[in-house]
């Protein structure tokens, strides 16, 4: 819709950009952005405006403000990964996905906040502080959970945005941009999407280039897409997917961008409900939303069956070994020699390395490096790494079997509960939290499958609950078609943010109408 508005001249790209930048400023307390690239964004908006005036926009994304998680390399704009190790690091090149967005005329507003090096499920463990879930300040949440006008309580009741792409999710959720890039290794795009009430898409591994995405786990990472509706996710996917010669793990097949049909008839669909996803700790609200969704499909004529993914319970332990091993390897390059933080310690190369890495990395990163190196030791390799690889194969095969038996799409919860208050969240350490929170999203990364979280309902506390659809490899079109149908049925409420209300404008109506396609 916003794209149409730009085309028809109802709003100019520059106006749009300025509105968004202004919203970024007024929602600064959310801490969603690490860097706001105001000057370059306005320049890009001006260029876009010129193109619209000539009647030659580059495409649907031309002039659309977007944000990018701060673990994607952006030329000329700082890329920190929310770590001291890369504070001040300005990459000389753009990640392929960033370049693609810019080539389509998108306006890059800035880099969003995350857990340091994408390690975490709350976006709370970065050097720039935690991201606040915009829904903390929504009327819906305040009515249900916060005692009337108690500012102190309000301050301590704000909830987490989820992670590790919390900044991107919060940015989209609070209307500061129309789409954002996140990354997804164990659920890092879907988790915050669910908590922030937005759509979070994890594409099939190998569909979108990882060149320029600073890696967490090379064999599981994918760039993630966060938008306010499913159609928008499909549009962004269309502009990003395809083979990249710079990334040898992208598939060679040509990718055909698609428009999502509006499904009228779901009777030919088979929806699988994996029983193992009824995990311990699943909240009543989430369980209810999941049930209602299953009924929704059943009542519309779809075949809804219970299925089994028996190796689900091993996925967290398996992930733990493989993730930490890759982290230990991927972080070995951070030694302060060529770029990034370098310690003043200069007694010897070794001591400089050690000091640099101690100063540059937080506890979480250092912990994973140590674990990972342990698993990679010659005497441990067979028992840990190789075994985990075998278990990974079993987990992936679970999905192959289920999809092979006629199921089209799986329906599961995305998170165990709605977003918890920050003060609650930090009572447990990062590793514990990750272990708990990744359980529903992790397996899709193991198997490389596409998965999307769609806002389904509000919890008893007035916070978003998301449900997840998992699809067959490279069948994003089918996956998103089903997701779109569900989204339409559910009619998830729009967030009612006081801050946004104060800026009420004709233009803003466009923004709040949730889509740009």
């Amino acid at each position: 819709q916003i794209s149409a508005a730009l085309k028809e001249g109802q709003v100019t790209a520059t106006e749009l950009c300025q509105r968004c930048l202004s919203l970024v400023r007024s929602t600064k307390f959310l801490n969603a952005y690490i860097t706001v690239a105001e000057e370059t964004a306005l320049q890009q908006a001006e260029e876009s405006e010129k193109r619209y005036r000539r009647g030659q926009p580059l495409g649907v994304l031309d002039g659309i403000p977007v944000a990018v998680k701060d673990n994607f390399s952006t030329a000329g704009i700082e890329t920190t990964c929310a770590s001291n190790m890369l504070k001040g690091y300005i990459s000389p090149y753009n990640a392929t996905v960033v370049q693609k967005l810019l080539d389509q005329g998108a306006v890059l507003l800035g880099k969003t906040n995350l857990d340091e090096f994408a390690m975490g499920s709350g976006s709370t463990d970065g050097i720039f502080g935690p991201v606040r879930n915009p829904w903390s300040y929504s009327r819906q949440y305040k009515e249900k959970s916060v005692p009337k006008s108690d500012p102190e309580h309000e301050e301590s009741s704000w909830v987490i945005a989820g992670g590790s792409s919390g900044g991107s999710a919060a940015a989209v959720s609070s209307f500061t941009c129309f789409a954002a890039l996140g990354s997804d290794t164990g659920g890092s795009t879907r988790n915050p999407a669910a908590h922030c009430g937005v759509v979070g898409l994890k594409p099939t591994y190998g569909l979108i280039s990882r060149h320029g995405l600073i890696p967490l786990v090379n064999s599981m990472d994918v760039p993630g897409i966060l938008t306010r509706c499913v159609d928008d996710a499909a549009v962004v996917l269309g502009s990003l997917a395809g083979h990249d010669p710079k990334d040898s793990t992208t598939i060679q097949d040509t990718f055909q961008p698609f428009e999502l049909p509006s499904l009228a008839d779901v009777s030919k669909l088979s929806i699988g409900i994996p029983k193992e996803y009824h995990a311990p700790g699943l909240s009543g609200d989430v369980l209810a939303a999941w049930s209602r969704a299953a009924d929704l499909f059943k009542n519309a004529g779809a075949k809804v069956v219970e299925v089994s993914l028996p190796h689900t319970r091993y996925s967290i332990v398996c992930y733990h070994v493989l993730c930490t091993a890759e982290v230990a390897s991927n972080m070995a390059r951070f030694d302060g020699l060529e770029y990034g933080h370098r310690s003043d310690m200069n007694k010897s190369t070794e001591s400089m390395y050690a000091a640099t890495r101690r100063e540059g990395f937080n506890d979480v990163v250092r912990g994973r490096i140590l674990s990972g190196n342990y698993f990679l030791l010659k005497q441990n390799y067979e028992n840990y790494f190789v075994k985990a690889q075998k278990v990974r194969r079993l987990i992936a095969n679970d999905f192959v079997k289920v999809f092979g038996s006629g199921v089209d799409v799986l329906l599961t919860p995305t998170t165990l509960s709605d977003a918890v208050p920050y003060v609650e969240f930090i009572k447990e350490d990062n590793r514990t939290r990750s272990t708990q929170d990744d359980i529903l999203t992790q397996a899709a990364n193991m198997a490389g499958l596409p998965a999307v979280s769609v806002p389904a309902a509000l919890s008893g506390r007035g916070l978003p609950i998301g449900l997840q659809f998992i699809g067959r490899s490279f069948q994003e079109k089918q996956l998103l078609t089903v997701a779109k149908w569900f989204e339409k049925q559910v009619k998830f409420p729009m967030i009612q943010l006081e801050e946004v209300k104060r800026h009420e404008h004709g233009v803003l109506q466009h923004q709040k109408s949730a889509s740009f396609s």
Binding site: S248, T249, S329, R333, T349, F385
Partner: protein, 456 residues
């Protein structure tokens, strides 16, 4: 007590001759300004990914085929981790689990007792050939206690050729490496110039009593010429024997060869016992190679390496060249060995043969005894020879026609060597070295001498 049995194995790193590096597009060039050939990937900038260089794969396949290896149609890449200033990523990408080629052999020749006339052929098994990245270079500036790092070499493609411990002494090791060098240069897969670091050899040396298991081995590094390789190996064998005979033990250590002192010394402990924490390289899918049978129907030729295609186009290897020379020219095997062994000498020889009526069997004598010995004496390469093939051919023609004697010819050769631009004919005339052909004149001179005698 039975004599000691020395055992020598070699790990040879050959820089692949290619325009760009193994996993990135930066250029490969010797002696460029420091850090001028470094791509984002070489500098290990976060987010960069490796992309395999096709030419490097072809070079490794060529080399594997030339060394009679089985080429693995599926090989894998791994990360080998250690921290060092010249390794920006903190790991090297190599092939530890499944290398590109395995189980080959290399035949090489040795002279027995230094007599050229008695050559014997030996074989060394090739365990494997693997593709891997070269590291950068670090220079230690002790005066200012700093280390200078040049990443130009970081990421250049290497073929590591592992030779089984089938050799027994410095001479064998040197001969084997020399033959490998010739093969690589013939294939063009590596220029293999040791002085430029394009061929680096590490020797694994141990000794044991016959019938007993292999002894503890040491690794000798830092050998930068074939001559030094022989010296280093022989020294190390001796050192180990002496150590053991004096009741000591051999430590499993890494030693460097000190060329000035002619001995091996323990290396400053770079790593101790390293655990390289090998891990599969997740950014590179398995390397799949095809042959005529397995080649799928509709593939993009740019994306495929066909082993059979490469095999069909292999040039004549040195051993084949030698055999052909013997067959074609009727020279002895040890002669063809010497010809092939010296860069450009075969060509020179063939040029002379072409331009002269003298039989190749005679020409070879001049090439090896006169030309080659002069070149060696003055440390010149064939390319730098002051005597060209045409000049030598002219000289040999004079000799062949009987216009000069062989001793005169030697004199002319010396003059030619001075490189003053005179032709053989000019020198002969100048020095009046012509043989007299006129029968009558000769009779007159003889008669005159006899007459002189009579008078006495």
């Amino acid at each position: 007590l039975a004599p000691w049995v020395p055992v020598v194995g070699l790990e040879i790193h050959a820089q692949i001759s290619s325009n760009s590096k193994l996993f990135s597009g930066s250029q490969v060039q010797f002696a460029a300004p420091p850090n001028s050939l470094v791509s984002f990937f070489d500098a290990s900038l976060p987010g960069t990914l490796p992309v395999l260089n096709r030419r490097c794969v072809e070079a490794a396949v060529m080399t594997g085929l030339a060394l009679n290896c089985s080429i693995n149609k599926k090989s894998l890449f791994d990360r080998k981790h250690y921290f060092y200033a010249d390794l920006p990523a903190g790991y090297q990408i190599t092939q530890q689990r499944v290398p590109i080629a395995v189980n080959g052999s290399l035949s090489y020749s040795l002279c027995i007792d230094n007599k050229m006339s008695q050559m014997v052929t030996k074989t060394v098994r090739i365990k494997q050939i693997q593709l891997e990245q070269d590291s950068g270079k670090s220079l230690h500036d002790d005066a200012r206690s700093q280390t200078l790092v040049d990443l130009n070499r970081a990421g250049v493609g290497l073929m590591e050729v592992v030779m089984e411990p089938d050799m027994c002494c410095g001479e064998e090791a040197a001969a084997a490496v020399r033959e490998l060098q010739l093969i690589l240069q013939t294939l063009g897969s590596s220029q293999a110039i040791m002085a430029e670091g394009q061929l680096r050899v590490d020797a694994n040396v141990s000794v044991h009593r016959p019938g007993e298991p292999y002894g503890v081995r040491t690794e000798v590094k830092n050998i930068n010429s074939i001559r030094f390789l022989a010296k280093a190996v022989d020294y190390e064998i001796q050192r180990q024997i002496e150590e053991l005979e004096n009741g000591g033990t051999v430590l499993n250590e890494t030693r460097a060869f000190d060329s000035k002192l002619g001995c091996t010394v323990p290396m400053r402990d770079k790593e101790g016992k390293q655990d390289y924490r090998f891990m599969p390289e997740p950014n590179l899918p398995p390397l799949i190679l095809y042959d005529a049978k397995s080649l799928p129907a509709n593939v993009n030729h740019e994306q495929v390496v066909n082993i059979d295609w490469i095999h069909e186009r292999l040039p004549d290897l040195p051993s084949m060249k030698r055999a052909k020379l013997v067959e074609l020219y009727g020279i002895l095997p040890e002669h063809s060995f010497a010809l092939v062994n010296e860069d450009g000498l075969t060509e020179f020889f063939e040029n002379v043969v072409e331009q002269t009526q003298m039989k190749p069997k005679k020409v070879i004598g001049w090439i090896l005894s006169d030309l080659l010995s002069h070149l060696k004496q003055h440390s010149l390469t064939v390319k730098e020879s002051p005597v060209s093939s045409s000049l030598l051919a002219d000289l040999l023609n004079l000799l062949e026609k009987g216009e000069i004697s062989s001793s005169a010819a030697k004199q002319v050769f010396e003059e030619l060597w001075k490189g003053e631009g005179k032709t053989p004919l000019e020198i002969v005339k100048e020095k009046q070295l012509e043989l007299m052909q006129d029968q009558e004149e000769l009779e007159q001179i003889c008669q005159a001498v006899i007459d002189e005698r009579k008078e006495e």
